[in-house]
């Protein structure tokens, strides 16, 4: 007996996915629009992609964004994974609530508040805002997301596996490297990717924490969008979508390949 019959179920799913994907599909479609008017279809063209290549400001921003994404995701992944281990494997420690709170709060905290807070910190420390502060801000944002993903996986890792390794003579570091890390690796990789996407996407934190020399791509897009719909924004958005989805697909393929080439 099922709660919902198959037919309405398929209908609900179709409607839901239409809602989720139609806007994205439209952005992609109209990036190939030959017309200058964003919502009038004027035939297929790649002219806006061509225009992007000549927009040096935009290209520079894209480079900054990518560098900041990789750097902040690396920090977030290392710290987030350590935090997940601390939360899951250390029985009790003082101020655990504070620790957990600091990790989970950035997941939902309004970005304006976090941006403002970080900016005040950098100003009062006398740090010049720029690439470094941007990376610090994004790493702080990504940390909690990595922790959540890695911890979910860590919960599923049978602790007796670690005990078995210890029983067979492996110390804590060896046990982590040879048993725990390989088992949670997919989650660590996913956490890295998510932290990277968050950094690539972020407008608000970046606006607060970066300096004039390190304007990010979302900041450029935002200032363009404020002026209205533009075909060039469609093109750059499509490239961003393509980049993220292709790297996700690559990660998934890599994971599958890794699995299939292991000892049969």
């Amino acid at each position: 007996m099922r709660g919902a019959a198959p037919l309405p179920r398929a209908f609900v799913l179709c409607l839901g996915f239409l809602f989720l994907y139609a806007p994205i599909a439209l952005v992609i479609l109209y990036s190939f629009n030959a017309s200058r008017l964003a919502t009038v279809w004027g035939g297929w063209s790649l002219r806006w992609y061509g225009a992007l290549l000549e927009n040096e400001q935009l290209l520079a921003s894209a480079a900054t964004t990518a560098e900041a994404a990789v750097a902040s995701a690396t920090i977030a992944t290392i710290l987030g994974t350590l935090a997940a281990i601390a939360l899951d494997r250390f029985a009790r420690f003082r101020s655990r609530t504070l620790f957990a709170g600091m990790i989970y709060a950035p997941l939902v905290l309004p970005e304006v508040v976090m941006g403002l807070a970080l900016l005040l910190l950098f100003v009062s420390l006398g740090l010049e805002r720029g690439f470094v502060t941007l990376v610090v801000a994004h790493a702080t944002l990504g940390l909690g997301f990595v922790t959540v993903i890695v911890r979910a996986r860590l919960v599923g890792v049978d602790r007796t596996l670690e005990e078995a390794a210890a029983d067979l003579g492996a110390g804590p570091v060896t046990t982590f490297c040879r048993i725990t890390l390989p088992l949670i690796f997919p989650a660590v990789a996913a956490g890295f990717l998510l932290a990277m996407t968050l950094s690539l996407d972020d407008l608000v934190l970046a606006s607060f924490t970066t300096g004039p020399g390190s304007t990010t791509l979302p900041m450029r897009i935002y200032s363009e969008v404020r002026l209205g719909v533009s075909p060039q924004v469609n093109a750059v958005s499509t490239l961003m979508i393509a980049f993220v989805w292709l790297s996700l697909a690559a990660a998934a393929l890599l994971d599958r390949w890794r699995r299939s080439t292991r000892v049969p």
Binding site: D158, T160, L161, E163, A164, A165, A166, D167, L168, G169, A170, G171, T174, T175, R178, I179, P182, L183, R262, V263, P264
Partner: protein, 359 residues
Amino acid sequence: MPLLRLEHVTKRHGGFTAVNDVSLTIGKGELFALLGPSGCGKTTLLRLVAGFETPDQGRVLIDGEEVTEVPAHRRPVNMMFQSYALFPHMSVEKNIAFGLVQDGLPKKEIAARVADGLRLVQLEGLGARRPDRLSGGQRQRVALARALVKRPKLLLLDEPLAALDKRLREETGFELVHLQKTLGTTFLVVTHDQKEAMAMAGRIAVMRAGRIEQIGTAAEIYERPASRHVAEFVGEINLFDGEVVGPDEDRRKVATAAGVLDIGPRARFAPGAAIIVAVRPERVVLARTASGAIEANAFPGTIAEKAYLGDVTLYRVAIAAGLVLRAARPNTGPGDEMFEPGDSVVATFAPESCVVLRA
């Protein structure tokens, strides 16, 4: 010289005392079982020996060396986990080799010992497989091989047969005993299954609420349980609470709710002592009418329930004062006399069949 010695070991988890002042000595080459219901502390005791936990009080000595504070990875003991804990991302060979790699042995020797290990548990040819592609019995043997190739002084087995299905369990039990005899390694087995313990172990420690209640061979524990709990936990038993009513020549009699029982000559129980008389169901004899031979301990009653189990038939006999007496009769052939519910019978047992426990 003892291989394992526990001296007054106590371990608390929060407010709960899992192991309470346990002292225990196990000799070299023994197959020793810790038996008890879940939550009795037997697994905690095993983990204290393995080094996953540190006792709050007391000492742990292995082969004469104190290891109380030594972490698990530096102890000369290995464990076969109840869940087997095979590393899912490694092949069978890599699993078995794990501990040897950890010891820094040369590659050649590792390969040779892994091959030996596989042969020992009859898994030749499966070395390249991943654990998730093995049957339950095969996994169990990989776990065993992985622990044994390290040549531990003491092998700990946590419920080694629990995850196997019933048919495999008995066979694997015998295999373990055989293996232990061949290798001469000391085995410490934890189990909640009394049959498993009795079938495998040379000596058994029955645990309850963090303490050891009795240590002995299977026969000692079954025939001469030291406490009410051991009597009840190991096999089925009829218990009568009563009071010794005094010497009748050199015999002792006990007043119970079911009537006066004759427990034969047992001078150490003085008149007035509160005791428990225990009788195993298979020592209870049922007959249509009282036979002349045994006059003591005869209880007229009615068959309340009958369960035919193939090798034996179990009866529950309603006797005086609303009490129920359990009796077991072996089935030897088609000519066996059977009783049916409602039949009037007389249940008797010999005074020497009684086990007397202090209340």
